[in-house]
């Protein structure tokens, strides 16, 4: 079901958390609300499911205005960060709870509960209690409980934050598989860009209560609208470098670097200070613009090495390259940048 937030605002007392936010989630789409802590993404989530009352604006599910509908009638499935399973009930009772509340006949409750348990692969755990499950299993139960009543929308509040790295990888694809299999509209709240990029159809990146950009993960990575977006996506992260526009080039004067203005970028007037964003994978052995510096940090990641190189003016750039033995700490290197793939931002962070 399509979800629409229309000029949604939320304040707590005098603190305005979100102002005039408009967001549309298409039917069957999985959208990530990505942003740092305190940017209002969880607030948005709780407004959609009705735990928080909105201070302004409207919320639509399909054509229906849900703004003043109580939580119980919105039919929203929520998976909480702590899973919030009912500790005194077995897995089967947990999953069946939403159905029993709706007073479905017991045979129907059992049938739907078992069908959902099969979907999330926990058939053999139905008799256990939450305390006897691992984190990943609890997560599956929470998903099953949220999905069993066929909600209009599934909300996931940092669902992977409490899992260890390996399980996180597994549950990432599991959640996506279940979402695609059920065809449900889903909103994922996360501060982890890898989760957002790997699980979702589109990402809405938020900062300080507003949405900065909504795009597909690839589009957002290739074409960030602001320096904040560019800095949030990508691991290892992008490095920023202060520069000025000079004679149609972008120059870092005290580090002896001159880069051509990338295609599609408006050439700023002479003398304008700008900020260059250079991703680690665009700096390496191949490219068109030379950059000289000293290797000040080497991190082996197995397949690749991550280098920090310090320029003459003290700025640090990152480079990620295939593992090779010819570069070691404190070497002076001259590497190249693919200048058509760098980003140019104005001083206030807007992309030029």
């Amino acid at each position: 079901m399509r979800i629409l937030l229309d000029k949604f605002s939320k304040s707590f007392g005098d603190v305005r958390v979100i102002e005039d936010m408009t967001l549309e989630v298409n039917d069957g789409e999985m959208l990530a609300l990505l942003g740092p802590s305190g940017c209002g993404k969880s607030t948005t989530l709780f407004a959609i499911c009705g735990i928080h009352k909105v201070s302004g604006g409207r919320i639509f599910f399909g054509e229906r205005d849900m703004t003043d509908v109580p939580s119980q009638e919105r039919n929203v499935g929520v998976v909480f960060q702590s899973y919030a399973l009912y500790p005194h009930m077995t897995v089967a009772e947990n999953i069946a709870f939403p159905l029993r509340i709706r007073k479905l006949p017991e045979a129907e409750v059992k049938r739907q509960m078992e069908e959902m348990a099969r979907l999330v692969h926990i058939e053999e755990l139905l008799g256990r209690r939450p305390a006897e499950l691992s984190g990943g299993q609890q997560q599956r139960v929470a998903l099953a409980r949220a999905l069993v009543r066929r909600p209009n929308v599934l909300l996931l509040d940092e669902p992977l934050a409490n899992l260890d790295a390996k399980l996180r990888l597994e549950m990432r694809s599991e959640i996506r598989r279940i979402q695609l299999e059920t065809g449900i509209t889903a909103i994922l709240v996360t501060h982890d860009q890898v989760e957002a990029m790997s699980m979702c159809d589109r990402i809405a990146i938020m900062n300080a209560g507003r949405i900065i950009q909504i795009a597909t993960p690839q589009e957002m990575y290739r074409n960030p609208r602001t320096a904040f977006v560019a800095g949030f996506l990508g691991n290892p992260p992008i490095a920023f470098l202060d520069a000025v526009a000079r004679d149609g080039w972008l120059a870092v004067e005290d580090a002896d670097i001159r880069l051509p203005v990338p295609p599609g970028t408006r050439t700023p007037p002479d003398g304008t200070p700008v900020v260059l964003g250079i991703r680690p994978e665009t700096l390496g052995r191949e490219g068109d613009a030379p950059i000289r510096g000293r290797v000040t940090f080497v991190e082996t990641q197995g397949r690749e090495n991550l280098y920090d190189i310090t320029l003459a003016n003290g700025s640090v750039l990152r480079s990620i390259q295939r593992v090779s033995d010819d570069v070691s700490l404190n070497d002076e290197v001259e590497w190249r940048v693919r200048s058509d793939q760098i980003f140019v931002f104005s001083q206030n962070g807007e992309r030029l």
Binding site: Q72, V76, Q81, Y86, H88, I101, R145, R149
Partner: protein, 274 residues
């Protein structure tokens, strides 16, 4: 073994210090089933005559079983009232955004610290006026009201430890706030409810002043009042009978403690987190 050697002076000192207490308890029991010649501590005959109050009601006194039933009714009713009302009020004060919540919280705290005995004259007058003087219901209501602040505060502490997410999940699952409380939150505070019930029962069982003042009549006497009337009776002064009834009065408490002391500890384990 050196550790044991070094601790024996302490053990000895404690034994000597607590010997009078132990002796008192021993004699409390021994005196109820024996007779001793005048002037001697050493009993010389075994007898059950001091327990005859169980099957023979002395003239001018209510039957012991009637009194025991009254005590049971009094203690269980106050416990039930305290548990039912505190479990709801505690939830409201812990979770709901009710008007004047801070005032209520502070008020409950003050009432808890308030010496109830100072109210006794006013309560007496009120019960007289509404016609509940010398009835069990009247004294049950008063006792429950006086125990309530402790119960409410205790239950609030238990509710405070239940994660919010469980309630949010219940709401999202379509349950009303009342269903969430009854089916999801209440089971989480079961240890608290059990402990409070036990605690309130023991408080009721041991209460003396309120029944003595508010319900002294023979039909509504409770055990503590009965016991006090024994010692107040100058005509038939019988120390052994007094001890027997005292032991009889104490037995249920001992049994409850023996079986449920773990649950009582919960009050200090869970309740103080709030």
């Amino acid at each position: 073994m050196t550790g044991h050697l070094r601790s024996w002076p302490i053990v000895l000192a404690l034994s000597v210090a607590s010997a009078p207490l132990v002796l008192m308890y021993v004699y409390l029991f021994v005196d109820t089933v024996t007779n001793a010649p005048p002037g001697s501590f050493v009993p010389n005959e075994f007898t059950l005559e001091h327990w005859s109050f169980l099957w023979h009601t002395p003239r001018g006194r209510p039957s012991i079983w009637r009194v025991t039933l009254n005590s049971l009714l009094f203690a269980t009713s106050t416990a039930a009232l305290v548990v039912v009302i505190s479990s709801m009020a505690g939830y409201v004060l812990s979770r709901l955004n009710v008007p004047a919540r801070g005032f209520f919280l502070a008020g409950v705290m003050v009432l808890h610290a308030f010496p109830a005995i100072t109210l006794i004259v006013a309560i007496f007058l009120v019960l007289q006026v509404v016609g509940l003087y010398n009835t069990l219901i009247g004294v049950i209501l008063v006792k429950a009201a006086i125990d309530m602040p402790l119960g409410i505060w205790l239950m609030k502490g238990f509710y405070d430890t239940v994660p919010w997410e469980i309630e949010m999940a219940g709401i999202q699952d379509g349950a009303s706030r009342f269903t969430v409380w009854r089916k999801l939150v209440l089971p989480q505070v079961k240890p608290g409810i059990f402990a409070l019930a036990l605690f309130a029962f023991l408080l009721g069982w041991g209460e003396f002043i309120l029944p003595q003042v508010l319900a002294p009549g023979g039909d509504v006497q409770v055990l503590s009042v009965y016991l006090a009337s024994l010692i107040a009776d100058d005509n038939n002064f019988d120390m052994a009978l007094f001890k027997s009834v005292g032991l009889f009065y104490m037995a249920p408490v001992l049994i409850l403690f023996f079986f449920f002391q773990g649950h009582l500890m919960n009050i200090y384990g869970g309740g103080t987190k709030g």
